[in-house]
Amino acid sequence: MTRSKSKITKYLIPFFLIIFYVAYAGIKMAYADEPKNEIAPTPEKTEISASVHSPESEVVSEHKSEKLDAGKMILEHIADAHDWHIAGHLSIPLPIIIKDATGFKFFSSSRFEHGHAAYLGYKIVENKIAAVNEDGTVIQDASFYDLSITKNVASMFFAVFTLLWIMLSIAGRYKKDSLRAPKGIQSLVEPLIIFLRDEVVKPSIGPKYEKFLPYLLTIFFFIFINNLFGLIPFMPGGANVTGNIAITLVLATFTFVITSYNGNKGYWKHIVLPPGVPMWLLPMMIPIEIIGTLNKPIVLMIRLFANITAGHIIILGFLSLIFIFAEMNAGLGYGVSIVSVSFSVFMYMLELLVAFLQAYVFTLLSSLYFGAAVEEHHTEDHH
């Protein structure tokens, strides 16, 4: 009994010391009458307009004016960007590739000077490239394609190279000596592969599972590693790759195309002529079946996007609470930081789980759809 008691006090003492220190520092700062020494005010005020002055693209709250717009800050953070913010004003410019009527334009995003300058008739407005006239006004319906290597693309490249490096080096080891027990990172990946094969793919698809296994393993590890990279708060992570609808759209489209391509006669018959449905109901049932078929990839797309984005928003929300409170009073900001950081740490743990879980769910549902597409239907037996 006394031992456990002493253990508690051992942890309680530093905890209270921190609380006292924070309270003391807060009171001192409040009396020192300089509440905003941590938040350097910048004269530039946020303007949301299509005029010359647009908001800075990659600025974090410290550099904003008195009023912090947490919602805007969070949305900027989870959105894509044309340069890779590191800290403060330091950011890595990324290549801009624009295809328009005159051909390809290829230059560095540093030419835009964070939205302050136009280059070759383009300018960053609200984090996006927009075509501008000579005088700097935005052309609303300009026709061009922005194929730039954005922050998400660059982060995805990092993740993909890491993935390829891990998997190819493991494959080399397997090729060299397949009968040995796994070693190093191989013993981390192999259980995942075997788990996916035996617990996810095989039961969902059935005997024809081997055809789909490479795709399913690829999406699992692709999503998983991009989720993990998204949790790294700085280079080479810091982007919200799997929380971007374009990424999940492509993944879901792949699943949909593979499902449709491999759909057997029974699968299509089920859609066009649902068994056991009276003739007069068919005009209603066929659209429903088609919508249901399209619904599957859409659900995949939204689930991954929403889960990852929501996780990022929650963490960013907790952290921006610190700055919101710090704007009222610096001491309050420090006090809230304890709560916020501990909640963020908790959320990070949860996000690690979610990173795995969403990759798993996407793979599981994809394999269920494949399973439905290749399943041998016995519709004749029902009639």
């Binding site: 009968l179 490479p214 609808i245």
Partner: protein, 164 residues
Amino acid sequence: MDLVKPEIGLLFWMTLTFGIVLFILSKYAWKPIMNSIKEREDSISNALNAAEDARKAMDSLKSSNEKLLQEARIERDKMLKEASELKDSIIAQAKKSADDEFRKKMASVTEEIEKQKIGAMNELKTQVAILSVDMAEKILRKKMEDRTQQEAFVNENLKSISLN
């Protein structure tokens, strides 16, 4: 809302990248990895089966050894029994033959003794006859010393002999 509006650039790069990753991983990673895992699983299950077979063979060997041992034991017991029977019969036979021999010898000895006894008896009879004749001669010699007595005797004897 911008958040749910897919951008063409990202779509393009994602499709390209994911396609390439899918191709490279399928060809150079998943294929060898899955093959190796399968190979390893097969080899493990083969090894397990072989071990099971070996165990079974061992068991059957052990049981056959046991059987052999049991048989040998039975054989030995049988042999011991037979030997002891043989011994008994040999002893019995020897006893019997010794007995017979003895009996035969005894019979012949008895016969000999009888023969000897008869011989001795005959001898004794002869001796007794000679002695009595001698005695009778002597007595007669003594009795017939005077002439009268001789004549009386002859007369007497002559009287008893009837001459027909």
